[in-house]
């Protein structure tokens, strides 16, 4: 079937397109305009904006920790209000079904769950298979696991570490490697309560920096398209910009991704010893051309924090709102689920909000700063439309700032920033750049051959950009109409994107023996067989090699 999207304002930074044009699609792909012949279906998109489906590189939507948070906060489920209608599951709070629908309604078609402990990989993939419409992927966590730290302690070669990383990615069907407060979870088990870049993991004698370096090299050696995805040490602490700056300078010239850097953009100035250091951090990112970051913007309201940084979550437990929390000492990383409410009236929360926006606005290159709230840690992903509107309007930011404590804004530079994102910059940050960062060549653009994942927005009313981004006019997934006027009209299953590196046979034998002796279990503990995932989930292999 040939479909024509007629007369929309097409924005495709990959092909330098920003103007009225027709798009054609057939069999789930975008095709070149045919020579003559009529479309079977034509959608008149006059006055509307057309972009590729959006890609979220960092959103905690599935897995054991996310599910614990669901069970921890049954009363929070109504927070997923404004749901698309249809089946009973859409009333089910943050269920897998609701997550897929809410993302699709905003024009998102690919989402990465960025923190899956290998021993919970099957659990995460089961949830993703139950998440409709959107394509998904996981990042596999390494860096607090006994096997890797043992390799480093014993001075084994970089190729042994790369083999192990390849084996883990292959077994868990990951799209990349994540490292979270490297060594910190292990240190916490030995009763350390703080852990920084050059601190040593007890019993293993390796530093956090050495662990990150080893995994950065491994990802590079394997040709994993996505650079190692790093959650730095000292998240959330006053003065922690020094940790982020040290990490950037320590890996200068190497491809590396730093996650939710807003949570590391804090100085110690001002009467309360807490200030935004976002300008310094943005300047460092601007200089370090191989570094990419995502923001982890804070928005106001009730949320819950879900993190595999168990040490940080333990330290944050007394600030839980409401006052309850789960701390999980896992086989490697574990996690912490700590509910939290960001309040406009709270000095610290207001500084966090402003620091995130400063990062968005002071980092020059929209292809190196990614659009995230670290869902749900900074805010639920349902707040994305409001955040897009804030980036695009200085006046709207001023309206928000007028409601915040002046004392907080005084330790930020936000009021002095006049930049407004263009739609092309939004499309770069949420489409073109994420596809490139993840190695997904047929996504994030609208050229012939691309997957027909397309979002259409009615942005005619500038006073309600957020509404337009929240309820896409039309969304196509693989060419199928899935959303009309913000309502989900079809729920095809998504697929999971993963790498499939060929691991070395020797490391496989070694790990089989390791799992038998350490856990008394086979390596089925981290394997994700296709039959086990079930439903109609299919896997799409993304090739290694940059």
């Amino acid at each position: 079937m040939l479909t024509r999207l007629a007369g929309g304002h097409v924005i495709d930074p990959v092909h330098g397109q920003d103007g009225i044009a027709d798009l054609w699609m057939r069999d789930g792909r975008i095709v070149a305009a045919p020579d003559g012949g009529d479309a079977d279906v034509t959608h008149d998109l006059g006055g509307k904006v057309v972009m590729a489906g959006a890609i979220d590189i960092h959103s905690h939507i599935a897995g054991a920790n996310v599910n614990t948070a669901r069970l921890l906060l049954p009363h929070w489920h109504p927070a997923a209000a404004d749901r698309p209608d249809a089946t009973w599951l859409t009333r089910a709070g943050w269920s897998t079904d609701v997550i897929g629908r809410l993302y699709a309604a905003m024009g998102y078609t690919t989402v990465v769950e960025p923190a899956v402990a290998p021993h919970h990989a099957l659990h995460a993939h089961l949830e993703l298979a139950d998440t409709p419409i959107i394509d998904t992927a996981i990042l596999s966590i390494l860096g607090n696991d006994d096997f890797l730290l043992g390799l480093l302690r014993d001075g084994e070669s970089g190729s042994a570490i790369a083999d192990y990383a390849a084996w883990t990615l292959s077994a868990t069907r990951g799209l990349g490697i994540k490292v979270i407060n490297a060594g910190g979870a292990m240190a916490f088990k030995s009763n350390l309560r703080a852990f920084s870049l050059d601190d040593v993991v007890p019993d293993y004698g390796v530093t956090s920096r050495q662990i990150v370096a080893a995994l950065q090299k491994a990802a590079d050696a394997l040709g994993v398209p996505h650079p190692v995805h790093v959650h730095c040490n000292n998240l959330g602490m006053a003065g922690n910009v020094e940790t982020a700056l040290a990490t950037i300078s320590g890996f200068d010239g190497l491809p590396i991704h730093l996650a939710h850097v807003q949570f590391y953009a804090y100085g110690t100035e001002g009467g309360r010893g807490f200030s935004s250091a976002a300008p310094r951090l943005a300047e460092a990112v601007n200089r370090a051309k191989t570094v990419t970051v995502d923001v982890g913007q804070v928005m106001f309201g009730q949320t819950t924090t879900i993190s595999s940084d168990v040490l940080r979550q333990f330290n944050a437990r007394d600030r839980a709102r409401p006052r309850k929390w789960v701390i999980y000492d896992g086989d490697s990383n574990g996690g912490g689920m700590v509910p939290y409410e960001y309040r406009r009236s709270d000095f610290f929360n207001a500084v966090q909000w402003a620091a995130g926006l400063e990062l968005f606005l002071l980092i020059d290159d929209p292809s190196r700063v990614f659009f995230t709230t670290d869902h749900p840690n900074g805010a639920p992903f349902t707040s994305y439309p409001d955040l897009m509107a804030l980036l695009m309007s200085r006046d709207l930011r001023a309206e928000w700032m007028a409601t915040l404590p002046a004392e907080a804004l005084a330790v930020t530079t936000l009021a002095s920033i006049s930049r407004e994102y263009t739609l092309t910059e939004i499309a770069t940050m949420t489409r073109a750049a994420p596809a490139r960062l993840l190695g997904l060549s047929d996504r994030g653009h609208l050229g012939a051959g691309a997957r027909a994942d397309i979002a259409v927005y009615d942005l005619g009313n500038h006073r309600d950009r957020a509404g337009a981004f929240r309820h896409a006019a039309l969304v196509f997934k693989d060419g199928e109409l899935v959303v009309r006027d913000g309502a989900v009209v079809s729920t095809p299953p998504g697929r999971a994107l993963s790498l499939a590196p060929e691991p070395d046979a020797a490391i496989g034998r070694r790990l089989q023996a390791y799992y038998e002796s350490r856990y008394g279990l086979s390596d089925a503990l981290l394997r994700v067989p296709e039959w086990a995932v079930g439903r109609s989930q299919s896997f799409e292999v993304v090739s290694c090699g940059r």
Binding site: N67, L71, H77, W88, A92, L122, F188, I327, G520, R535
Partner: protein, 364 residues
């Protein structure tokens, strides 16, 4: 044996029927029921997915045979929070075990030596241990006999840990103080309990005690799971509906209410007029005594008080067919390949047949 309609063991009112006829009759019963309940729910993850699809279609309530125990832990978590670890970390890292309740001596985790106190060496502190113990399980310190004493003993333990005076027998205080010293000296201590034995108050007190101990050292908890894939069913209900079991779909959306959607109460009070009973792991039969029209999916050998209207035998997940289920040894969902593959039906396939046989209009 070939896959033949005639070999599937299915009955309507005790008469052998084809699996298709059984599914058709089950669908008829469910479509005409006013408040169906799906209970037992001893099923693998594929089975739970199918059950929630069915519950959504016919507006059923969903419960699990071990929900009392499962929800005791969930309630403590969602009211107060908790710290937990994995069985592997408890075995490999713990140097002190705080055991609460006498049933732990017989727990599979103990018997399978997954919590081997000898390797690596662990010191045992036991509240309410059984009278007789294997030599390897003898605690360094113990106090109490009956599980009913646990809340009070835990309160005393917590008070002494936090330096508060308590008014109780000097002998008890002495024993408790020795325990406190032991617990505080742990490098990585693990408190172990089974919600099948402890009440919610005791579990909450124990979890709060674990939190207190972290002021100085590392301590965490290990709730031992009930059987019949209870934890796996809890997890799957969580991601599919947002809630644990004891959730009803009668209004067209999930509502979680541990009292309202308790299958035994629904059956006993006559609020429910049709039950689906699932026991693929152990051929359990429902405990309720009321004669409720029932569609039973169990392994062979289940003994019912009154014969089910529709009965279909199913295989055991992980034995007769490949399955994903919660594995207590790892504390995770794992893929289990069939130990002795057979032609026996899975819960998921029988429910799929029922779903296919439902009239279109029963969608809600």
């Amino acid at each position: 044996m070939t896959r033949d309609e005639s070999v599937v063991a299915a009955w309507i009112d005790g008469r052998p029927v084809t699996r298709k006829d059984a599914a058709r009759e089950a669908a008829r019963l469910l479509a005409t029921a006013r408040q169906p309940v799906i209970a037992g729910l001893g099923a693998d993850i594929a089975g739970v997915r199918a059950v929630l699809d069915l519950a959504g279609r016919v507006g059923a309530a969903v419960d699990h045979m071990h929900a009392d125990a499962l929800l005791r832990d969930v309630d403590v978590m969602r009211e107060a929070g908790m710290m937990v670890t994995t069985p592997s970390e408890a075995r490999l890292r713990a140097d002190v075990l705080l055991l609460a309740g006498h049933s732990l001596a017989e727990a599979p985790d103990m018997r399978a030596r997954r919590l081997d106190p000898a390797c690596p060496a662990k010191r045992i502190v036991w509240l309410c241990p059984p009278r007789k113990l294997d030599p390897g399980l003898v605690p360094l310190h113990s106090v109490g006999r009956d599980t009913g004493e646990l809340p009070a003993l835990l309160a005393v333990l917590r008070a002494r840990l936090n330096g508060h005076p308590v008014a109780t027998a000097a002998r008890t205080i002495k024993a408790i103080d020795a325990m406190v010293t032991e617990l505080k000296s742990a490098r990585f201590g693990v408190a172990v309990w089974s919600a099948g034995e402890l009440d919610a108050l005791a579990i909450e007190m124990l979890c709060t005690l674990v939190g207190d101990l972290n002021a100085g050292t590392r301590f965490t908890g290990l709730p031992l799971p009930p059987g019949d894939n209870g934890r796996g069913v809890l997890e799957a209900c969580g991601w599919l509906s947002g809630y644990p079991m004891r959730t009803g779909f009668g209004r067209g959306y999930p509502e979680h209410d541990p009292w309202r959607f308790d299958a035994s109460r629904l059956a006993g009070s006559r609020e429910s007029d049709c039950a689906v009973w699932i026991s693929a792991y152990g051929a359990e039969a429902p405990a309720w005594t009321r004669d409720l029209p029932t569609i039973a999916l169990t392994t062979p050998g289940a003994r019912f008080r009154t014969p089910p209207r529709v009965q279909v035998e199913v295989g055991t997940p992980g034995i007769d067919h490949d399955a994903v289920q919660f594995v207590p040894a790892s504390g995770t969902l794992m893929p289990i390949t069939a130990a002795r593959p057979s032609e026996a039906e899975s819960v998921a396939s029988v429910i799929a047949d029922i779903l296919a046989a439902l009239p279109e209009s029963s969608s809600c």
